[in-house]
Amino acid sequence: MTNGDAAANGHGLLTTQAGVSHDLLEKHQGSSGLFKGAVALFSVMFILGVVGFIIRVTDGVSDRAIWGYYAAVFAFILTTAQAAPMVAIAPRIAKAHWRRPVSRAAEMWTAVGLLNLLLFIPMLWILPDLKDGRRSFWFFGIEDSGVVNAFSPHIWATVALVSLVIVGVALLWVSSLPDLALVRDHSTGWRQRWAARLAGQWNGTSRQWHILDRRVGILGAFYFMMLVFVHFLISIDFAMALIPGWIDALYPITHAANALQAGVATVLLTLFFLRKFGGYQDYITLDQMWGLGKLMFALSLLWFWFWFSSFIILWYGKKPNEEAVLELLMIGPYLPAMYASFVMNFLVPFLTMIWNPLRKSVWGPPLIATSVLAGTFFDRVRLYVAAYSVPGLGDPSVDKHELTVEQVENMSAVMPGLPDVLIVAGAISGSILLYLLASRIIPVMNIWEQKELLLYKIHKPFHRTEVMVLGKRE
């Protein structure tokens, strides 16, 4: 890469530590009219979502089917916003330099976990306990066993989700400490007070840097493990177990893998908006879009492989309950959602991202990311709305382990009502709103990692050209 290319790609513009600090602090402290407009819009939509939720609550929790879309949007946020921090964690472990402008933008989504925790509370009321003898990951919750609490899914899923949120917020806080200290030392008013509280005693001593390095690594690894664990529990107890006869060992892992795909898509779209409207075009460059685009492409292929691996086994197996499950989730009432998901999660990324001009562009990967996010939403609707619409759980006379094709043929897809639309729009808007508000306190661009890159990257002549030399810490 020549100097000219580097400049065009944003590398050559800010080459001093002071310059980077000054530029990023300035961007952090300014707020445009567009930002305020977005905050106002998402606030209104969030309030409408709360209204939708109140309407839904007045309908009670005894009819689980009407809560399907609520569960779907909870799972959607878990799959997108709460998975987005993995985009910071995995490349950081691999010491990939292109992550630096991405990492904070991705970690900031951990804040949305707080909202999803609130969304989770009503789901605990909607989920039936194990006393009716339904199949469960907590095998022996049947009332006469006395070994496992009938509310095991409620207890352990809550513990896991709370842990995920705590670890996530801790990760965001710890990795932001140096930047918060910078804000503390270079701002005034409410922002300075908040930053001072959050930055604590950070002075940038060698010991503090050493501890920060270790803690960010450990918290990242924990976040990954907790994310997989939460997907494991939620996907089984809040979806699979609600469909009698659905036994799919790959499904919890598919749920988590989809989260990685949608997490990357979330971050790509975030980067696009930060670049386009946030003034970060010197930092968020082709390198980031290209790197994440390749990752999203690979994860889209993984989506297909996992989907097909499950499908082929159930299709070949032809057990009565397997036929019923396929009828319900893939070829019956939710066939349009299945098609939408298949096209948007796999076909669109696959057929477009194989082309270099699209993959290697700053607009291509975010464009395809919108397709992936929409597909993920339809996938969650397909799985959760279908699961919540199966009648009979809680009724002792209904078989909890076998679903028949005839039963499914008599079912029709549950369509969203006005409260569902308000809830879905409100929850997604609330997530974005929380992100925007968090970005007012914590710089959305990781300043210290950006400055660190200046130490690790040099350009030097090599024969008749100039090359970039990148250092990698052992």
């Binding site: 036994i247 892992i253 996992f306 691996s309 082929i312 070949y316 690790y456 250092g471």
Partner: protein, 457 residues
């Protein structure tokens, strides 16, 4: 890679071509010994063809035994080459350079061992192996393309061709180096194989593009091969323990676990036998050890999920099978050995940097992994078949016969033999890749520290 040793191009040529242009003292003896073992296996195969499959320990209801276990094992080992070469190449991991060739070659020989291990011998009448191909028009009988047993040869065959191409493309510049250092018919042979390589910028560019393209294109094949092998089992509902949706990724991650472990074994052998310690450093063992911790833990997670979901079915037969695997003799002993060797012993040891950087410990722990992963396949296949089901009518037990043991041993000899013969004709470490690594390597001073760096385009 802190322990890098900068070498000049002449020394690289001398070191890495020593086995090709000369012959280590032990080489002939090793080839002779392995040939003997292999030929004994071929003899056992001939005996089986002459006498029929009754000479094996297989009988109703256990029709799949050592052969099929060994087939799945070798398919697993063959995943190492692509894992190491294609994925590490695409992710530009610098530490891949000295180990790619050996891993790729192991892929080729282990795939051929897999084909020997089961399909060819297992069909009972190998002279009718061509029935899997749709060309016998006169009979009007066509292969059932809905059967995974028809997909198997297609996938394995494609993988074998793709991985051979992979090896070949990476060999071209090295063969040109050998061509220029030999004379007479030998030189002409290498000249023919390297197709007029002169090292022009265009040739280098084409070679690099071919390597990247093959890396990307071979990955779906790599995934399909073990997926299909797993579906040989998983599409069946008749055998307890097999009908699980997780089998494809579970088999693949298991394959990567055993395959990468096998690469670590080969690395140690290359240092011990060919004295390549200037190229394969403790850093490389450290890197592969860290990779193995991730792979092994992911495998354990899949194993746990597979097991848990067997219980989740709440089916009596499925739960009874798991009890049989865990608590009944002889499977309990095999299960304990399997779980300890595949995970509980090696992974905690690999957590220590000192262990990861110790070649002997890495060698023996990865040997353990492969013992464990062989047993894993055995425990998947045999206990499920041994149980009485509505279709198999009675219970069974299985003891491998001498014929099976000899034939399985022969596949190990075949892979070893193949690697040794290959090493006589081609360098086990790619010369051009090592030289490129030397050129791309650099250092950056940060304060008082020196950080290893590499040139990026």
């Amino acid at each position: 890679m802190q322990e890098h040793i900068q070498l000049d191009q002449k020394q690289i040529n001398d070191d890495l071509l020593a086995g090709v242009l000369g012959m280590p003292k032990w080489w002939l003896a090793a080839v002779g010994g392995l040939s003997l073992v292999f030929l004994t296996g071929v003899g056992a195969f001939g005996w089986m063809i002459n006498q029929g499959v009754g000479v094996t320990g297989l009988s109703r209801p256990i029709f799949w035994g050592f052969f099929m276990t060994n087939f799945v094992f070798w398919i697993g080992i063959s995943h190492a080459g692509i894992m190491i070469s294609a994925i590490l190449r695409l992710t530009q991991a610098e530490w891949r350079r000295p180990i790619t060739r050996a891993a790729e070659v192991m892929t080729v020989f282990s795939l051929s061992a897999a084909m020997m291990a089961a399909p060819m011998v297992h069909i009972g009448r190998p002279w009718r192996a061509y029935w899997v191909f749709p060309f016998d028009f006169s009979r009007g009988v066509w292969p059932n393309i809905r059967s995974p047993f028809i997909w198997d040869p297609a996938a394995v065959g494609t993988y074998l061709i793709a991985s051979s191409l992979f090896v070949f493309v990476a060999l071209i510049p090295d063969m040109a180096v050998i061509r220029d250092r030999t004379s007479g018919p030998v030189s002409r042979m290498y000249g023919f194989m390297c197709m007029g390589w002169r090292g022009t910028p265009r040739q280098w560019k084409l070679q690099a593009v071919a390597g990247i393209l093959l890396s990307a294109l071979v990955l779906p094949v790599f995934v399909s091969v073990h997926s299909i092998v797993s579906w040989d089992f998983a599409v069946q509902t008749a055998v307890n323990g097999w009908h699980s949706t997780i089998f494809a990724p579970y088999f693949i991650i298991g394959a990567i676990h055993s395959g990468v472990s096998a690469v670590a074994m080969i690395m140690a052998l290359m240092v011990w036998l060919w004295k390549l310690d200037k190229y394969i450093r403790p850093d490389h063992f450290d890197a592969i050890g860290r990779l193995l911790i991730v792979v092994a833990t992911t495998w354990l997670f899949f194993f746990f999920t597979e097991f848990i979901f067997a219980l989740y079915t709440l089916e009596d037969a499925e739960i009874a099978l798991r009890e049989m695997q865990l608590f009944q003799r002889p499977y309990i002993f095999l299960f304990i050995i399997f779980i300890f060797t595949a995970y509980l012993i090696p992974v905690p040891l690999w957590m220590f940097k000192k262990v990861r950087r110790n070649m002997a410990l890495m060698f023996w722990t990865t040997v353990l992994v492969n013992i464990g992963m062989w047993l894993e396949r055995f425990l998947i296949i045999i206990p499920g078949l041994a149980r009485k089901t509505p279709l198999s009518f009675n219970w069974g037990s299985y003891t491998p016969s001498l014929v099976e043991i000899l034939m399985v041993t022969a596949t190990f000899a075949w892979v070893g033999l193949g690697m040794l013969v290959f090493s006589k004709f081609f360098p086990l470490i790619p010369l051009f890749d090592i030289k490129e690594g030397m050129v791309f390597r650099d250092e950056i001073k940060i304060g008082r520290a020196t950080v290893p760096a590499s040139i990026r385009e």
